[in-house]
């Protein structure tokens, strides 16, 4: 537990020192949103597809089977 906490602190410190401007940060945020949206609504992996199946059909614009 202590090692996880230490690792987290270390990564936080590294992340804070990352030299990124606003455009880069925005692009990363959009990319993260994209990955999450794709995984939830468009991936065909059975485990994910089954879990979000009803949600996909309830949004009228997510293509499914």
């Amino acid at each position: 537990m202590n090692s996880v906490y230490t690792q987290a602190k270390r990564h936080l410190r590294i992340t804070r020192r990352l030299p990124l401007n606003l455009f880069h940060k925005s692009a990363i945020v959009v990319a993260i949103f994209g990955v999450v949206l794709y995984t939830m609504f468009f991936t065909t992996t059975p485990l994910v597809h089954d879990y979000f199946h009803e949600l996909r059909h309830s949004l009228m614009m997510i293509p499914c089977h």
Partner: protein, 368 residues
């Protein structure tokens, strides 16, 4: 004089043949349709579009018997946003030739998607029947989207815009870094996409819907137990039905000597996942066989029910069987359209949030 007589005779012959063709040409049949439920209230995947196709002669009398080719086409692909059944878009939901008795053909189908459905009905006389001429009739039915789904989409979009704009706002307010590292950002973006994209491969094989997976071949024929010497036989397609394609079903009513028996046949499909009867029709079969080409638009288990009333008897035979429908992964274009729309909306919301954040930060720095 002789030439004049020849010309006159040929003119008279032409005129008489023209008149006779008009006088004895059978008039076209009248084809009309009556929706049993108001089309405006139909919600795709939930409510059935129930209609009765009425066939009558020029005087309005119901046609005693007619061969009817009936076809229903699903709405065409929409330009901007996909529906939730993109494989069905523009495909035929059924395309069959049946015999209609007493001028009535009832059809019930639960429309899978929003949009304009096109019905095409061709009516032809059977045998030497000259009471009407072959007639084609077409009409369209506009089915709207389920209001609950529209509401869900608005809620979802609001949450997405809120989250994306909030993220942009936080980014805009925070102070900028001193140096740049383009390679790191590009690496991070490519890495995140690389993690997500491989799942797009043909792994659309789940227990419920099974798109893309190869299903085991099914029994070809189902037969009811013999009752009073009669038995009903349903021939299923050799391959499992696939979403987007028509599947041919063949029904036959046989007596104890395996002779075909004329009957009234009712065919229905029930989608078992939600327990909804998605299709039903009824037709008369003077030959004792009934063929239907229809599409199962949901890649899940369906129950097929066939009822047959031999001759004019009130007692019927019923046959029920379950069929597995093979789902199909959505086409890349449909995915690209919907995913692109969501991503563009997210990017716009993040940009808006950044702009707001920058404005707030500048104002704060000016006042400080």
């Amino acid at each position: 004089m002789r030439q004049f007589m020849q010309v006159l005779a040929s003119l008279l012959f032409f005129a008489s043949s023209l008149m006779s063709s008009f006088a004895f040409a059978a008039p076209a049949a009248r084809v009309s349709w009556e929706p049993v439920t108001p089309i405006d209230s139909i919600r795709p995947q939930l409510d059935p579009l129930t209609l009765v196709i009425r066939l009558s002669d020029a005087e309005g009398r119901a046609l005693s018997q007619a061969a009817v080719h009936v076809r229903l086409e699903a709405p065409q692909t929409q330009t901007l946003v996909s529906t939730d059944f993109p494989v069905v878009e523009g495909s035929a939901l059924f395309d069959s030739r049946v015999v209609v008795k007493d001028g009535l053909l009832p059809i019930k189908i639960v429309p899978p998607i929003r949009g304009s459905y096109r019905f095409v009905v061709d009516v032809d006389p059977i045998g030497q029947d000259a009471s009407f001429a072959p007639t084609r009739s077409e009409w369209q039915a506009q089915v709207g989207e389920n209001p609950a789904k529209k509401k869900n989409l608005v809620i979802f979009m609001s949450i997405l815009i809120g989250l994306a704009a909030g993220s942009g706002l936080v980014l805009g307010i925070t102070r900028p870094a001193r140096t740049r590292s383009r390679g790191l950002v590009l690496g991070a973006m490519l890495g995140t996409f690389a993690l997500g994209l491989p799942s797009r491969s043909d792994a659309h094989g789940d227990e419920e819907h099974g798109p893309g997976q190869t299903l085991e071949s099914q029994a070809k024929s189902v037969t009811t137990p013999s009752r009073s010497g009669l038995h009903l036989v349903l021939d299923l397609p050799t391959e499992h039905p696939r979403v987007g394609n028509l599947s041919a079903l063949h029904v036959a009513l046989l007596d104890a000597q395996n002779q075909l028996v004329p009957a009234r046949i009712e065919l229905s499909f029930t989608q078992l996942e939600h327990g909804i009867e998605v299709f039903r029709t009824e037709a008369w079969t003077p030959s004792g066989t009934f063929d239907w080409q229809g599409q199962f638009y949901d890649g899940s288990s369906h129950q097929i029910t066939v009822r047959a009333w031999p001759g004019e008897q009130a007692e019927s035979l019923t046959l029920t069987t379950t069929i597995e429908v093979e789902g199909v992964a959505p086409p890349p274009l449909a995915v690209a359209k919907s995913f692109g729309s969501l991503l563009a909306l997210t990017a716009a919301a993040v940009a808006l949030g950044c702009w707001l954040g920058l404005s707030l930060r500048n104002r704060r720095e000016l006042t400080a």
